[in-house]
């Protein structure tokens, strides 16, 4: 588990800072306790911001939940992929599945699509601490640390995933899938609700199945 914790540490500063932003923005809309509880039990930044923006604009709870779940729908294919790495009975597997967040999942994946259980679970720990800690500070103390964008902290997330992606691209199949996925996401961003571009980009993984089939035929 320590390997996962260590590997995820570079994302703690931006996760904390974005957590502070969430707390600052959410407290007046939802109340500070609801904002903090949300970070602890939903634990999904982009979904929480999406739900918050619906509520902040006067939308219904149903619309807020729908927007949030759309952003979290990517955890379904991610959970299927990581399923063989979970252990125990159904309840324990369900609990271990909760450690699937973008950072832990991306860190735990190897080139063959196998997942390292220790890194998956360990990787979620610093993310949780940073996210919930940041939300508490933001919700209760306000934006004393300033706008994270001024410090460029928002660029740390894509840079972190790009560094992980570099290690995933050793095979031609992986490079092709990544290129198609990137193109799908880029093209869809302006036209579909947030969450859908990443989800749709997952379809690029089908190229592997199709290519193998063609070779076999």
């Amino acid at each position: 588990m320590q390997r996962g914790i260590r590997a995820a540490l570079p994302l703690v500063p931006p996760t904390f800072a974005i957590g502070v932003s969430f707390g600052v923005l959410a407290a007046p809309v939802m109340g500070s306790v609801a904002a903090i509880v949300m970070s602890a039990i939903v634990f999904a930044g982009s979904a929480q911001f999406a739900a918050l923006s619906v509520l902040g604009a006067g939308g219904t709870a149903a619309a807020a939940v729908g927007a949030g779940l759309l952003l979290n729908a990517r955890f379904l294919p991610m959970g299927i992929a990581a399923a063989p790495a979970t252990r125990g009975g159904r309840l324990r597997r369900a609990a271990e599945g909760q450690t699937v967040v973008d950072a832990s999942w991306a860190l735990a994946a190897d080139e063959q699509g196998r997942f390292d259980r220790e890194i998956l679970i360990g990787g979620a720990v610093p993310q949780f601490a940073g996210w919930v800690g940041g939300t508490i500070v933001g919700a209760l103390a306000g934006s004393a640390i300033g706008n994270p964008e001024t410090l460029g902290l928002d660029a740390m997330f894509p840079a972190f995933y790009l560094s992980l992606l570099a290690g995933e691209l050793r095979s031609g199949d992986a490079r092709l899938a990544a290129a198609i996925a990137a193109a799908i996401a880029l093209v869809l961003i302006p036209f579909v609700p947030p969450g859908v571009p990443v989800l749709a980009a997952g379809l690029a993984a089908l190229t592997g199945v199709l290519r193998r089939r063609r070779v076999a035929a």
Partner: protein, 102 residues
């Protein structure tokens, strides 16, 4: 229950169910062969999509801003085989510098 608490509760339950579905349905079984090939390419696909979305989108719009410069710098740091922490710090520093200048 207020709209805020209803949102928190429903989103928490829905998210937990989404995350639990794969591990509970599949258990410890190995994935069927076609699914295994698909899953092998799921990581590069989804990670590439996360990079694109986190670099080029803002509130559901396609934007080109200082993050692009930060990512270009990060790409250089990756090519130079720097550590992950150096890569993310370079991205933040360049993004912040471009924002400060623009």
């Amino acid at each position: 229950m207020s709209a805020a608490w209803a949102t928190v509760a429903a989103l928490a339950v829905g998210t937990a169910a989404i995350k639990a579905a794969g591990p509970v349905a599949l258990g410890g079984r190995a994935l069927p062969a076609p699914l295994e090939r698909l899953v092998a390419l799921l990581a590069p696909s989804l990670i590439a999509a996360l990079v694109i979305v986190q670099t080029f989108s803002s509130d559901g719009k396609l934007v080109v801003d200082a993050r692009v410069a930060g990512l270009a710098a990060a790409t250089g740091a990756i090519a130079l085989r720097r550590s992950t922490i150096e890569i993310v710090l370079v991205a933040a520093a360049v993004t912040a510098a471009v924002r400060a200048l623009s």
